[in-house]
């Protein structure tokens, strides 16, 4: 897992292979195309071998073979094939490695985005583009089941298809869009913001990106596997996920791959932020985006193993008939929910804190004012981090868990409103008497603040036991989660994409289309999800493909609005693609921002900085006369020399 640069004398590396050998044996998709089947065979033999040693009957259980060989070893073979492990294999076996060879670094043509690339900027773009692909896939699924829900009665889906669509929609949006999209933006920006040439472990970074398409393809294919689509809902509660359709196994493994990816990325962020800050960049001078990802990464590293555990138990219960959640064999069914939510409640902060960071950047820059209460903004992130671990059972008020757990969980849940409220008021105070520029990133950031307040208020209602009992598993919960995850996370992701678009591509997006995108999304979003509060309180249950005719009118409105919302992303796609190809050149610092990523060219040079800058002040001193964040171009050496001379 660690990547250790070898300091021992380097022998001359073997000359590169030529001709067809290079084509077949060099890292790339050709090698992946034969190594993935090879590793599938190895996995197959492992399963058969172990089963024959243990005298299990029947020897050939295809579900287990597919799980081990198809969902574990074959993806590993694919990763080995594209060259994600090459360096480590050379290192581990003591062969000469080439630490000075940067051939896998930076993008010279579009093809470099389809290779294992160790440049954090390339990886960041890879992340964002991949996650938008899965976002669109998940969004299309929502369109399909909204069409089904437009009228009462069954239209064109059966129950199992409907369950599959809502389950895969949610798992794609959560595990393949929101979490990795934030990781992608942070991947691009964090090393630049802290004045580092790259991440601490560039190869680990590349590997963690390449786990993501694997996770995504596994999750997508869980819709169409023999033995029934994954339809237990994204929470995958046992015992349904144990005894239900075989698609659950795909979900289990998809979560493992996505989880491994985010743990590795988070570990990388933490090490990068702790060990690679530029001189003078103390923790209290870090931009809030860095703070946000620091706390998020701590959450990921500490919480994600719990969902890994819960999915392992479910998978074992199904595949090798263990009894973790089998009531008849004295297993403990509720244990699943406890373990799952011990991850998944911190996970909602994993899905939100980086958005807080993006909002802080954008609001400060576009209000041309220092962020209000910088230290309290950072400390409230830490408070959310700690409190986030103490509230998981508020998802289980009606599950039949121990009654004494309810009130403590309610109190801690409501307590989280305090640090969150601090953040909301700080953003508002930042805009107070600022010179506000309503460019697209700012529109999305302000849209986020207002929508997140609505989501936060319904969150407080849901955190209170009596209301939660009433609206549990109704559309009120659906409305709440979409106000925080769509109005919250998605809006900040778009704020981030528009804000850093000029930095990532070197070109400016079309401002008019950006604003059009925002207003279409904002209106469509509210028309779609606000009525869900109403029908939720009236008792329309979620996750059911048919409903009482009294909700027909609202559902028709919701479905039509959701198509409107879905169509608004066409504007975004058109804007992003055309601007990337032939938008006007953006220049280094179109927003006149102070943070470090704007002090280098757009897109940034291959190693970010020709020399590491010296940090001399806070990152948000807009409008403060004479304030500087960083000093460049030899000024650091100059100052050091002055300090040295008597």
């Amino acid at each position: 897992m660690t990547e250790v640069l070898d300091q021992t004398p380097q022998a001359q590396a073997a000359p590169p292979k030529t001709g067809w050998r290079r084509w077949l044996l060099g890292p790339g998709f050709v090698r992946a195309a034969w190594m993935a089947p090879l590793f599938f065979g190895i996995g197959f033999l492992i399963v058969i071998g172990l089963r024959s040693i243990a005298h299990y009957e029947p020897l050939l259980n295809w579900l287990i073979v597919v799980t081990v060989a198809g969902l574990v070893t074959a993806p590993l073979g694919f990763l080995a094939g594209i060259g994600a492990f090459d360096y480590w294999v050379y290192y581990a076996l003591g062969y000469p490695t080439r630490p000075e060879d940067h051939s896998g670094h930076g993008a010279r043509s579009w093809k470099d985005y389809f290779r294992v690339n160790t440049d954090h900027k390339v990886i960041g773009v890879q992340y964002v583009v991949t996650t938008i692909f899965f976002f669109l896939a998940g969004g299309l699924m929502a369109m399909i089941f909204r069409a089904e829900l437009a009228k009462p009665g069954m239209q064109f889906l059966d129950n199992q298809e409907y369950n599959g669509l809502i389950s895969v929609h949610a798992s794609l949006m959560i595990f393949l869009f929101v979490i990795p999209a934030f990781a992608g933006l942070a991947n691009f920006v964090i090393p630049l913001m802290i004045g580092a040439p790259d991440m601490a472990f560039p190869r680990l970074n590349a590997l963690s990106f390449w786990l993501l398409p694997i996770a995504g393809i596994i999750m997508l294919s869980s819709l169409a596997v023999p033995g029934g689509a994954f339809g237990a809902g994204w929470t995958g509660y046992a015992p349904l996920s144990v005894v239900g359709t075989n698609g659950n196994v795909w979900f289990n493994m998809g979560v493992q791959w996505a989880g491994a990816s985010s743990i590795m990325t988070a570990l990388n962020f933490l090490v990068t932020i702790i060990t690679m800050r530029a001189p003078g960049m103390t923790f209290w001078r870090m931009p809030l985006l860095v703070w946000a990802n620091f706390t998020t990464s701590l959450l990921v590293v500490l919480a994600t193993p719990f969902i890994a555990g819960s999915q392992f138990f479910v998978m074992f219960d199904r595949l090798i008939k263990t009894n973790f959640f089998n009531f008849h064999e004295s297993g403990y069914v509720l244990g699943y929910q406890h373990i799952f939510w011990f991850y998944s409640h911190p996970a909602v902060y994993i899905m939100m804190l980086p958005g807080f960071g993006i909002a802080s950047e954008v609001i400060s820059v576009f209000s041309r004012k220092p962020i209000f209460g910088y230290r309290l903004m950072a400390l409230s992130l830490c408070a959310i981090l700690v409190l986030g671990f103490s509230v998981w059972a508020h998802h289980m008020f009606v599950s039949g868990m121990a009654n004494w757990l309810r009130v403590p969980m309610m109190v801690t849940t409501l307590l989280i409103a305090v640090p969150t409220g601090i953040k909301v008021f700080s953003w508002l105070a930042t805009t107070w008497e600022g010179r506000i520029h309503l460019a697209t990133p700012m529109l999305f950031a302000l849209g986020f603040v207002s929508m997140f307040v609505i989501g936060g208020l319904s969150g407080i209602m849901l955190g209170a036991v009596p209301i939660d009992i009433h609206v549990s598993d109704t559309y009120f919960v659906v409305a709440h989660i979409h106000y925080v995850l769509l109005g919250g996370s998605l809006f900040t992701i778009f704020a981030g994409i528009y804000y850093w678009f000029p930095k990532m591509t070197g070109r400016m997006y079309n401002e008019r289309l950006g604003k059009l995108h925002f207003w279409l999304t904002f209106i469509g979003f509210n028309l779609t999800f606000f009525p869900m509060h109403i029908i939720g309180v009236q008792g329309m249950p979620r996750r059911v493909s048919d409903y009482d005719p009294q909700f027909g009118t609202w559902n028709m409105i919701i479905s039509i609005s959701s198509f409107f919302l879905g169509a608004s992303f066409i504007v975004f796609l058109y804007n992003a693609i055309t601007s990337w190809i032939r938008g006007p050149l953006a220049g280094a610092n179109p927003w006149h921002a102070m943070t470090l990523e704007w002090q280098v060219s757009s897109p940034p040079p291959i190693f970010n900085f020709d020399e590491i800058p010296q940090i001399v002040g806070g990152p948000y001193e807009y409008g403060v006369p004479g304030a500087r964040h960083a000093v460049f171009n030899g000024a650091r050496e100059h100052e050091l020399e002055e300090a040295r001379s008597p």
Binding site: L93, L267, T275, R277, D610
Partner: protein, 198 residues
């Protein structure tokens, strides 16, 4: 700036802003994550044993080979000392000592793993035997998997040691695999105490 960029071919050296070096910190964070993974397995173990559990644990007619596993624990603990010896040896520049320490650690770790597998075949119950069997195999199996990973890492360190890598000044490859190995050992003490003794 552009002319400057032409002239230089590598990344600027990153400023080291912490006393801990990056690979060690990375390993420590990875171990924190691993501890939480064990935490989820302990959680389900105590749910099965305390919350949903039968009156007697282990539920009759099963019983656990506490003594054999105790010997095995001693073997694994010894391997931590040999690992420490290997690291101390290379810190003094004693290459042969490091090689001997690594090989001994590997041998002890392998003995532990094989004993564990032997115990599985003779213990008298399977993962399918109630939540007791599932959680027993879950915890010991998860630990066994970590021993396997630790042995793999140590094998790589050993290969490098015999190929002439590592010096008194640069031995992070041994040091960091050692940190992981110590973690595996300490974790076994917790697992052993919980599963066999408590």
């Amino acid at each position: 700036m552009a002319a400057h960029a032409e002239a230089h071919h590598g990344p600027p050296i990153a400023h080291q802003s912490s006393r801990v070096d990056a690979p060690t910190l990375g390993m420590l964070l990875f171990i924190a994550s691993e501890i939480m993974l064990f935490g989820s397995f302990f959680t389900i173990y105590f749910f099965a044993r305390v919350v949903a559990g039968p009156d007697q644990w282990p539920p009759p007619p099963f019983h656990l080979p506490v003594f054999v596993a105790g010997i095995n624990t001693a073997i694994l603990l010894t391997s931590s000392f040999t690992m420490h010896w290997a690291l101390q040896a290379i810190k003094r520049g004693n290459r042969a000592g490091m090689q001997a320490g690594l090989v001994l650690t590997l041998a002890l770790g392998l003995t532990f793993l094989l004993t564990q597998i032997r115990e599985y075949s003779r213990v008298g119950f399977s993962p399918q035997d109630g939540a007791f069997g599932s959680t027993f195999y879950g915890l010991t199996g998860l630990h066994g998997a970590h021993v396997f990973v630790g042995l793999t890492i140590l094998t790589f360190a050993t290969i490098r040691a015999f190929r002439g890598h590592f010096t008194a000044a640069e031995h992070r490859g041994v040091e960091i695999s050692g940190i992981y190995w110590h973690f595996v050992d300490v974790m076994w003490i917790v697992v052993y105490t919980t599963v066999y003794i408590l």
